[in-house]
């Protein structure tokens, strides 16, 4: 599973992407975020306010209850500010 971070999430995470292999019990984006936080390090700060975090799974916007599976590309980013 490939995790991507953009904008200030990337800066807080200190990395732009990482490969992770969560256990099978991690079934949704929300599960994944909790699991990341449980791993310690910067993640509790990265995910400290999920109200300002948006997610894409395989380049499609999804909500926190979206299912995830092996091979997915999961991106975390703040609300978009293009245009």
């Amino acid at each position: 599973m490939k995790l991507l971070y953009f904008a200030w999430l990337r800066e807080k995470a200190g990395i732009a992407y990482e490969d992770v292999s969560p256990p099978e019990s991690i079934a949704t984006v929300a599960d994944l975020i909790k699991w990341q936080i449980s791993r310690g390090g910067v993640y509790s700060e990265v995910f400290s306010d999920i109200s300002i975090i948006r997610i894409a799974v395989n380049q499609e916007y999804v909500d926190f209850e979206h299912p995830i599976s092996i091979g997915d590309e999961i991106a975390f980013f703040p609300p978009m500010t293009g245009g």
């Binding site: 953009f6 894409a56 380049q59 916007y61 980013f77 978009m80 500010t81 293009g82 245009g83």
Partner: protein, 152 residues
């Protein structure tokens, strides 16, 4: 048509291409977004646009298709730049061509509204006090939500 690029664009040339070879176009509407030298009360020395390359064109295409479904358009064009830009630089061009002005004007407004909240770009402003990620505005979200009607 969608283009995501670091290079600048020439609005005149882009609009000419939009209307060439179709004499049933009666209206062209376009919007250009530029980097301002002031944001709120901060001086902006430069702006850096980050994006999500694998997703950007996909997201823009989705927005473009939505516009084509809703309005009668002969052509549509979105050019969005990324990377480091200076005050006065062009960031984005949205242009639509249609037989009728209402379609062109409304579709252009829709495209820029949705693009602002649905295309994976993030702006960071470099100011004399440091760099800051631009926060999304509730007014932009409100503008985008005007166009919601079940779909997308």
């Amino acid at each position: 048509m969608i283009r995501v690029q670091t290079e600048n664009f020439n609005v005149g040339i882009e609009l000419e291409e939009l209307t060439s070879d179709d004499q049933n176009i009666g209206a062209v509407s376009c919007f250009v977004g530029l980097v301002r030298d002031i944001a709120g009360d901060k001086i902006v020395n430069s702006m850096t646009l980050e994006h999500y390359p694998a997703m950007t064109e996909k997201a823009l295409l989705k927005i473009e298709i939505e516009a084509i479904k809703r309005w009668s358009l002969s052509k549509t064009l979105i050019i969005h730049r990324y990377g480091r830009l200076n005050p006065g630089d062009q960031i984005v061009l949205v242009a639509t061509a249609s037989a009728h002005r209402n379609d062109a004007i409304e579709a252009t407004e829709f495209l820029i509204d949705w693009l602002k909240t649905k295309a994976p770009f993030w702006k960071r402003e470099e100011t004399p006090d440091g760099s800051f990620w631009v926060e999304s505005r509730s007014s932009d979200l409100a503008a985008a939500n005007r166009w919601i009607k079940g779909s997308m």
